[in-house]
Symmetry: C2
Subunit: 213 residues, 2 copies
Amino acid sequence: MHDRITRVLRYVQYSWRTQNMTDNSKTLLYKKITDLTEISVSSLDKLFEIATQRHYKKGETILKQGQICKTITFVESGYLRTFIDKEGTEINTDFSFEGSFTTNLKSLRSASSSDTSIQAGETTTIYEFDKDRLLELYNLSAEIESFGRKLLEQLLIAQEEHTNLFKIYSPTERYQYLQTNKPEILQRISLSQLSSYLGIARETLSRIRKNKE
Amino acid sequence: MHDRITRVLRYVQYSWRTQNMTDNSKTLLYKKITDLTEISVSSLDKLFEIATQRHYKKGETILKQGQICKTITFVESGYLRTFIDKEGTEINTDFSFEGSFTTNLKSLRSASSSDTSIQAGETTTIYEFDKDRLLELYNLSAEIESFGRKLLEQLLIAQEEHTNLFKIYSPTERYQYLQTNKPEILQRISLSQLSSYLGIARETLSRIRKNKE
DNA sequence: CAAATTTTGTGACGATTATCACAGGTAAAA
DNA sequence: TTTTACCTGTGATAATCGTCACAAAATTTG
């Protein structure tokens, strides 16, 4: 009798596990992590255990300026818009599409108040990683810390590339750069949202687009 | 007799060790690592073991555009200038002063040819960390990998801040930002070197400086 | 110390861009 | 569908910035 219960319990646990794993392996998150780093199933499980799925509608706020950022966010679908409020005007500093990670690292690291806000740009599904739980995992598993390091490397390379855009190219050339290197951003981000991201006035960007198509 | 030799040998080893440790603990590198992360003496030793000290005179090249970057560099004294060649003109993308780390991460990670060059801006002493040996240490010691991750965090925060300069501020405001937030850079970098770093023409920067002092 | 080289300042001018104002379009909401 | 809100295009104008040319100053080198 006792044996049977144990067997049944094991089966329930097993099917829950496989069910869960099957689901996870379908997520973009799963793909992105395994693309980035070699990682064991158990480490992956641990990461998924601390990932919270959330849904946002267009315009809803994930992080508000002044708050302390406590999570790292992975965008499963939709996109997030990061912006700074400069004297009443919103200046977009980043767009995070599905498959990418975002956070306010400065606020996250030093538990200081964030100078940026993050909002959903469309209907968006994210996975949220709590900072403290992630740090625990870093201490527990070298594999996971290695994942964290590689993620940062990737983000830093992208950021350097973006900075250089401003140093090397004129506004017109910056637009052309996006056309050839990141065309998807032009299709999904409205002209008025894009202009501050490129450091150009909305009207100027409108004229650039007119001339260069 | 044999005993005496052993004792002498031990003493020699001991004094060499303390000597060596004393030396290392005087370096900026030592200070910067221990400021950034909690690390054991043995891990620190391992890091110092793979660090090669090198000296450069002003204008000498550490990394040349087209080469594959294989090291991470720590600046012990002096400074390094990172730049891109754009149609014959050098555009400075970074200045690394004593106490900071630099590399071309994109080239380092993917073993691709570097799009930037790095030169000494003054007489400069660096410590060079070989990528492959560093990766070995990452696998050996979670503490060292943690150090690597924290270093990247620091670099990414600085890079984000620098990008936002271009999105939020006008050329004049960018100069003022340096005046209040990084005055040392104005004292050590010549106007003509600084202008491309701020994305401004040399003449314009000269006029800005004239008006704003 | 003097010559050579590099760096900086300045004027003139043209090109680019920002700003303001408003009209027309487009998309979402009622 | 109609209303409402937001996004885009466009003209006029002023401010800013880049470019060219050259002189002055500062720094380096012989």
